[in-house]
Amino acid sequence: MTVERAISDPRDQFPVGMRVLAVDDDPTCLLLLETLLRRCQYHVTTTNQAITALKMLRENKNQFDLVISDVHMPDMDGFKLLELVGLEMDLPVIMLSANGDPKLVMKGITHGACDYLLKPVRIEELQNIWQHVVRRKKFDKKDMNNSGSQDKAHNDSGEAAGMGNVDQNGKLNKKRRDQNDDEDEERDENDDPSTQKKPRVVWSVELHRKFVAAVNQLGIDKAVPKKILELMNVEKLTRENVASHLQKYRLYLKRISCQANQQANMAAALGSADPSYLRIASFNGLGNFHTLAGSDQLQNTAFRSFPPSGVLGRLNTPAGLGLRGLPSAGMIPLSHAQNSGITGHDQSKLQSVVIPGNHNANILQGMPMSLELDQIQDRKIVTHIGQLPTTDNIPAFPVSGSLIDSRITGCSDNNPLLGGTSNSLMLEASSQKASLHPRNLRDSVSTMSFPNGSTLSDFTSIATTSNQLRESKSDLRCQAAPTSCNAGQIIRSAPQEWNAPRKDAPYNSNVMSCSINSSVSVNGAMVPMAQSLDHNNSMFHRNMDADAFGPSSFDTLYMKHSEGENSAMEPSVIQREGYLLVQPRPQRTYVSDNIGSLEDLASAMIKQDQDKGRDGDYGCNGYSLRTCI
């Protein structure tokens, strides 16, 4: 399998001599890990800081074959590192943790980890990790064949910062590659019937800037590839290129927005509806959710206080998020966004909920949203949001919101929101705020502790989702993406589903995904949804694939992103989700068309805003989410 090793060193004796980078902030564990790896005859480099690890990896992409990293590290979240590595370097990453919580494991998976080991790690487990390298190479090869450029694998375009950093088209390819065998799909994804291989487009920073500018100009909700293409006015750029990039972007935004939402909410609450969401990255600790959840109001308030275009709006607007996030990769490296597409993939499904037009926190609040929701009634998802107060909907929302955050995997922080405690949040959302706080949802989702009681029950379904996500294809829908996430996020939360979804465990997961993405999206900010979805997608993506997510490459990306973001729903992912969700794909496998669907989703999302009806389509019908799931 190592025929085409991306790595330059010829390792004839592979796996002997495989170059591993081990990262763990605990010195005891690091020493132990190092010794174990040496015993397996690998070549080991260690560091106790994630940032250092990233630096080392970036310096020379071909320096390592595999990365093993602890999940909980002080300087950077392990999931984020995972995402970054996956996006930038396309290296297999194995997560390590003393915490074997399935939600966390799920999170790892959605973020793109090849494996998740539990401490204390035994040597037997390490003796087989080389398979991940081989596997990846294999896939890469596949990709390479597709793209015809060997270098892709190494694309070192590690630029995490922007999707466009790709100085070589390889990068983009790389990301695609990450998607694991979605390469082929990628091409197919270009929602263009002609699946012929198109020359890879390198999304350079400049190009990406143009893209973002165009999107912002159009408005994230209205940004359709065709128009974007027109605005960008770049030769040789096809609609498909733009479409797939848009997908990723949305996912990324979603992810950010979720985070941002949380932050935004907080910020909003504080009156600073600024792109604090950018800071979302730090949201992981959404612990705030917890507070939010508890206070619920905080989020809601945040939402509420947000001017429609406020935080949510801000968050949602790709411009806001994207721009910021993208170039600065403030929160989430854009590259992720791109990648997140993958994960978002699933999520998008979930996301379809993107609550159109509800940028405002209303969604959460259910108030303004209700208006919109009403329109969406059909959508279920949307309706839920609006209805938040209604029992039905609310559950949906919160979930969405939280889901998004919690990504099901229980956001790194495990925001209590979702967790049992937050359940109330979610429920609260129903009553008032659809406190979907994306975070909360996520947390909730991840924590699953959702209190099944009360409205949460719906939620709970969501919360528990992570596992359920898989199953809950349909459930996702309910995720009326709580506006928690930057309103933009259309949380797929198919409100309708909510009521019912619970039943499906899988739903939950979907919800989660959706919610996460949509956490905010309810607001209609599609983007957020995407983000949330992203997360979800990532989560789902991994999981969902089984479900129907369709392995859109996006998802893969998403997953990768997801990690980084941690609860941050990668915008790209979200996009995915947004797409997915939006599309009323009756088939569960929404993902199947990856890009196509995403686009649809995206458009759907956009439409949502306009005509809530869309929601009806994808979202609430239960299936809508399904895509997510």
């Binding site: 902030d25 605990d26 010195p27 005891t28 564990c29 020493l31 132990l32 010794t35 174990l36 015993r39 602890d70 909980h72 002080p74 943790s97 003393a98 915490n99 401490k119 204390p120 790690v121 035994r122 040597i123 600790g285 612990g287 922080d413």
Partner: protein
Amino acid sequence: MESRTLRDQIAAMRQSFFDEGILDSQFTQLEQLEDRDNPNFVEEVLTLYFRDSANLLATVEQTMETEPTDVAKVDRILHQLKGSSASIGANKVRNEVIKTRELWQQGNQEGAKAAFLELRQEHGTFKAKLEPYFQQLRQAGPVQAAMRPQGQQGGH
């Protein structure tokens, strides 16, 4: 002879650790990682652990007493402690950490603090037992070179 007696003693000591549940099979894994190239691995790791965990415990205690309490920080540290204790096979210590952490996560700060005291104690016991064990090990010298007089008594 003396070596042998010492070794028997060491072996008995070691076995008692397992019997009492102070150590678990993970410790055995550590031992297996020792070889000619890495003769004192176990001791090295344990030394590192003692030092690191002592710091962590101190930080936890301090954080617990600070107002307002940084709940997340304590949780993080406890998590880390759990991981490292588990990795070296410190069974009882790990269990105490888990217990403390659970209480803490439930919001029961008082209960967690009490559990933390027990954790501290268990940790102290662990250290007090393992250190002489290693001392004796050094004394006895590497198994292969059992005949070689090790010299210093307590070399640590």
